[in-house]
């Protein structure tokens, strides 16, 4: 087998295993760590597909910023192992079943049309930053700017939400 295929299978197994561990760990901190593992695996997939820019951005934004944020919040709440009550057995059962059915449906919907054998060679240069940047700043510049507005509003929202309630001043 070619190294690419081995890598593919390895990374997929890692991703799925880590995702399962995210869901089924008891300790929230462990869940966060496993999620970071998932992100690593997915970035590996991106590199396999020659989407280098996305791989880097995935690491920086997701694993670097978002997960750290999660960790902060979890530490803030001092959540360790099991102060966490479980949902009722039946509900968990139903949840697993529905999730599994969802996957089955996707699989069934998307399986085996022979026209799908397009290859995933690692060629082409669309994943490179330069090409992406060119398209981003010409065709999609408006969404780009608007996303900065989005960030602004998110920040403001976060700050407002996070403020402590002040007692009204007594005159």
């Amino acid at each position: 087998m070619h190294i690419t295929e081995i890598l593919f299978w390895l990374l997929s197994a890692l991703a799925i295993f880590s995702a399962l561990m995210v869901v089924f760990s008891n300790n929230p901190v462990h869940s966060v760590l496993w999620l970071i593992m998932v992100f690593f695996a997915i970035s590996g997939h991106y590199i396999l597909m020659n989407a280098q820019f996305l791989a880097i951005v995935n690491m920086i934004v997701y694993a670097g910023a978002i997960m750290v944020l999660f960790l902060f919040v979890i530490m803030l709440m001092n959540m360790n192992k099991e102060s966490e009550p479980q949902k009722s057995k039946w509900l968990r059962f139903a949840a697993v079943i529905s999730g599994g059915s969802l996957m089955l449906i996707f699989v069934a919907a998307l399986k085996g049309n022979s026209g799908f054998v397009n290859s995933m060679r690692g060629e082409g240069s669309i994943g490179l930053i330069r090409n992406l940047g060119k398209v981003l700043f010409t065709d999609y510049v408006v969404p780009f700017e608007i996303s900065s507005v989005l960030f602004l509003s998110a920040m403001v929202g976060a700050v407002v939400l996070g403020k402590k309630e002040r007692k009204p001043l007594q005159y």
Binding site: T4, V61, F70, M120, E123, I126, A154
Partner: protein, 116 residues
């Protein structure tokens, strides 16, 4: 060089699996933060799918014309998804912190005011 061929189906199945695991996580856990993380997992699975399709289209067009830039939009879309995810996490975590401040727990079973 004999380049390996990975059918795009495999990526679709991977994405479906990750998505389903995310759904199970959302439904199973009671901790709001864990649920939030599973939502992130779902978003990422979609990202994988998008990138796989972008590659697929590009490869198909590349065979005809080596200067094509066909699959670029999908990768930019992934970029924007990440942008939105970041903003969403910000606000979402702020809400969870506020929730914790009020009821000193992040158990979603306490959020049953909608009953009334």
């Amino acid at each position: 060089m004999n380049m390996p061929i990975i059918p795009v189906n495999y990526y679709i199945f991977l994405s479906a699996a990750l998505f389903a695991i995310g759904v199970v996580g959302v439904l199973t856990r009671r901790n709001a933060i864990i649920i939030f993380m599973c939502i992130e997992l779902m978003l990422n699975s979609v990202n994988v799918l998008l990138v796989a399709f972008s590659k697929m289209h590009h490869v198909a067009a590349f065979a005809l014309d080596r200067t094509t830039a066909v699959g670029t939009e999908a990768q930019l879309f992934v970029f924007f998804i990440m942008v939105v995810a970041a903003a969403e996490v910000t606000v979402g975590l702020a809400i969870i912190v506020m929730l914790y401040r009020n009821i000193h727990s992040v158990d979603i079973n306490f959020l049953n005011r909608l009953k009334h």
